[in-house]
């Protein structure tokens, strides 16, 4: 079963760089042939096209998506993991997502909606989100996010390599899932 591990975010944007930093770190890990790690922080339409480029017999069966997402209802550094149920918003919202996609917005929800709508995503999608604490230029994380970043990397590896672990996650809509840990919890 082929798995894609994908980071989504912005470079040099402190906590909002979680996705790309995790992807960078995991790139060098000794993965088996069935796991691909990529930074998918670009126009989601192009992401669809990239995923569709896989030959049918090599299409990914699972995607593990990691990003900082500001939900606002959890403390900075909170980590949430869930299997996305793949339910899309109404067509008007999907259109809006496509507009944002082609005009340069990089955001996890948008990427998920657009890639699902156009059939690029595998059926099984594991989402790992980190609640950011700051939004500003810079190369380092805020303290709460810095505390969880190793844990996030381990979690991603588990979800990419252990199907039973992924199967145990709750299923939910965008932003759904259970809180796994926070900076405080890991201290």
């Amino acid at each position: 079963m082929r798995v894609i591990v994908a980071g989504v975010g912005y470079r040099n944007l402190r906590d909002h760089s979680v996705g790309v930093v995790v992807a960078d770190r995991l790139l060098d890990r000794a993965w088996g042939d069935d796991v691909v790690v990529e930074d998918l922080s670009y126009n989601p339409i192009a992401v669809v096209q990239r995923l569709e480029d896989e030959p049918p017999e090599r299409r990914f069966a699972r995607a593990v998506m990691v990003a900082a997402v500001e939900r606002g209802n959890r403390p900075p550094g909170a980590v949430a993991a869930y299997r996305w149920d793949g339910v899309l918003p109404d067509d008007e919202e999907v259109q809006r997502a496509v507009t944002e996609a082609v005009t340069g917005v990089i955001a996890l929800d948008n990427t998920l909606v657009v890639t699902r709508h156009f059939g690029g995503l595998p059926d099984e999608v594991v989402v790992i989100e980190v609640e950011p604490g700051v939004q500003e230029f810079g190369e380092d994380f805020s303290a709460p996010v810095a505390k969880v970043i190793d844990h996030v990397c381990e979690l991603v590896v588990t979800m990419a390599t252990d199907p039973s672990a992924a199967a145990q996650l709750p299923s939910g809509g965008l932003g759904g899932g259970i809180r796994m840990a926070t900076g405080h919890g890991l201290a």
């Binding site: 126009n43 809006r96 507009t99 082609v102 340069g104 917005v105």
Partner: protein, 635 residues
């Protein structure tokens, strides 16, 4: 003489000077725009709203299917089916001018690229050109040619995206059906005149395939953005923020493999351009025939401005002194169209006529008591306004929203104190009437039209002719943008052929080494263009660092608020002239489709979608202010 409002005259040698005897030549009363429309006063609108139940506020917040954060406020007369007040609001602060201060100028290429998530490359090139002018660095011919091709490819991403993803749905069955059922009914009975080219037998079928998300034209546009992007990254490294644009040219390695790979993608746009032009011809004529009132949708004075783009590789010398000459040898001629007439193609005249005002914008005035005008003239001694970008200082001042006072983060750029619009169509119009195109086998400027000879692909060779329109409105903007796709593909083809000639000569040099001077003050301006038209970056360096940086984008012009003379900005003026042609009298069911067609026809790009700087940090996703809570006192 091209200036009618500013007191600028020209001597026998064509050198501009300020008319003698004018005490305050750039004062508000000495140079008042003549013949311009004016918004009704806030008091008058308030009175009309109170007295007439059929006059109502109609707000669009956000305006969807545009790039970035735009909100629009109108007051509509549902009985008279017209718009009485129109206010355009850029709801986010685009603070690149502030970010750039004190930095190494080379940073501008990468930082200003982030102003837009669609067309970052245009900002990179414009900043590279501003630096080239400031430091005296001239790219080699192949560097100019490859830069032209790169940016043409960016536009080949941009135009289809707008036509069939953003504006196209306004003309789709999914939109026309609910708003104008009789029109869709008529479309189903109407044969499409250019069926043999675009493949749609009836207008109804064409409208079906403009449907968002599922229509074939929508999906095809998504595919074509990929084709353009693939060609672009061959020479720019990545999209939308290129890595290979440098002062003095391009850092890409160009060889036959790259050229051939690029061509296989470029060639796909020849047939696609034939389809686009004929689709938008058929749509435009269908609407006009069904109801001539559609000619008023988005109508405004044909006041257009364009900085020109795509330099001739043997003409561009990166100097300000030479700009009037190299500007006129561009593949897209710079110029100003005033009331439908070309008044100048001279980049110096174009530059000195530009001013920016902030009476209705969330900025502080930078002129005034005790403020010294930094540059009274341009580098060749032509007069400059204190409101010119080289003199402008960006002083953001967030505050409450009021139609009487301030209501947008956009400024009000004016040329000769007139509200001008920018767009791909201005590029086409100037080039068509100026007749200054370099000799070539594919594009002909006739004085009243542009003839585009598109090579054979799956479709036979075809000559398209874009004619200067008799009316100026939303439909003509879209039609011109469709033709501009073909124009752009042919500019790329001409430059591709010229680049191949350079390679045959063994000339593979794409850039010129440079050093940033560490002493003294230097000035530069990049005159370039975005897919949406006019783009300039005005730069001042002081001891090797950026002392001032001013970006003027097409949407700064188009989305501008009313000015100190109550003259509306282009979106505002276009909406004020738009009749409400929806087939409903019920304000609740009213979608405002004609207003939205008017606004979207400009291809709005509030170039701030990706990274916005504010006091609170950096915003990566738009968070709009709400136009619903507009200050009542202002209203």
């Amino acid at each position: 003489m091209c200036f009618k409002n500013l007191p600028i005259e020209f001597d026998a040698q064509g050198k501009p000077f300020l008319r003698a005897g004018v005490a305050n030549p750039y004062g508000p009363t000495e140079a008042t725009p003549r013949g311009a429309p004016a918004q009704l006063t806030a008091e008058r609108i308030e009175e009309l709203l109170k007295r007439n139940g059929y006059i109502k506020d109609l707000d669009f917040d956000p305006v969807t299917r545009v790039a970035g954060a735009l909100a629009f406020h109108t007051v509509a007369d549902f009985q008279g089916r017209k718009v009485l007040e129109a206010r355009s609001m850029a709801t986010l602060f685009r603070g690149y001018e502030v970010i750039m201060i004190g930095r190494d100028p080379r940073d501008a290429i990468f930082i200003t690229s982030r102003a837009c998530g669609v067309c970052g490359g245009v900002h990179s090139v414009t900043s590279a050109m501003a630096i080239e002018m400031a430091i005296g660095c001239v790219p080699p011919p192949l560097g100019v040619l490859i830069r032209n091709i790169a940016l043409a490819l960016e536009f080949l991403y941009d135009h289809p995206l707008h036509l069939h993803l953003l504006a196209g749905p306004d003309y789709s069955a999914a939109m026309v059906g609910p708003t104008n059922p009789s029109l869709l009914e008529r479309a189903r009975r109407s044969e499409a005149p250019h069926a043999e080219i675009h493949g749609f037998r009836t207008m109804g079928e064409l409208m079906d395939d403009l449907n968002p998300l599922s229509g074939k034209l929508y999906l095809e546009a998504l595919h074509m953005t990929r084709v353009a992007r693939e060609a672009y990254v061959l020479i720019c490294g990545k999209y939308p923020h290129p890595q290979t644009i440098v002062p003095g040219g391009m850092s890409s390695t160009i060889n036959l493999t790259v050229m051939n790979e690029m061509f296989t993608r470029l060639a796909q746009f020849f047939d696609y351009s034939k389809k686009l032009a004929t689709i938008w011809d058929d749509l435009t004529e269908f609407f006009y025939e069904a109801n001539p009132a559609y000619k008023q949708v988005g109508a405004r004075r044909a006041n257009l401005i364009d900085s020109g783009i795509f330099d001739h590789h043997e003409a561009y010398d990166a100097t300000y002194a030479g700009a009037a000459a190299w500007g006129e040898r561009r593949w897209a001629t710079p110029g100003v169209i005033m009331d439908g007439q070309l008044v100048t193609t001279d980049l110096h005249a174009l530059n000195i006529g530009v001013e920016e005002f902030v009476e209705h914008s969330y900025y502080e005035e930078w002129t005034g008591d005790g403020q010294r005008q930094h540059f009274p003239t341009d580098p060749v001694g032509n007069p400059l306004s204190p409101y010119h970008p080289w003199n402008k200082v960006t002083k953001p001042r967030p505050q409450g929203q009021s139609w009487k006072e301030k209501y947008t983060w956009d400024t009000a750029p004016r040329w000769d104190r007139q509200a001008m619009e920018a767009g791909a169509y201005a590029r086409l119009w100037n080039t068509a009437v100026a007749q200054k195109l370099p000799a070539n086998p594919f594009i002909e400027s006739t004085g009243t039209s542009l003839k585009l000879r598109l090579p054979q692909g799956a479709l036979p060779e075809l000559e398209l002719e874009w004619k200067v329109p008799a009316v100026w409105n939303a439909f003509e903007r879209n039609r011109a943008r469709a033709y501009c796709t073909g124009f752009t593909a042919l500019v790329a083809l001409n430059n591709w052929l010229a680049a191949m000639d350079r390679l045959k000569l063994g000339d593979t040099r794409t850039s010129t080494p440079f050093e940033i001077p560490k002493r003294g003050e230097q000035r530069g301006v990049g005159f370039w263009g975005a897919g949406r038209g006019y783009l300039t970056h005005h730069l001042t360096l002081d001891r090797g660092a950026v002392a001032n940086y001013q970006i003027l984008t097409p949407s700064t012009w188009n989305a501008s608020p009313s000015d100190r003379w109550r003259q509306p900005g282009p979106y505002e003026e276009a909406v004020l002239n738009t009749p409400l042609l929806e087939e409903t009298d019920d304000p609740v069911k009213f979608k405002g489709i004609d207003i939205l067609r008017a606004i979207r026809s400009f291809d709005p790009c509030m170039p701030c979608t990706t990274h916005i700087h504010s006091d609170a940090g950096v915003i990566t996703r738009e968070v709009n202010t709400c136009a619903c809570g507009v200050d009542d006192e202002g209203g």
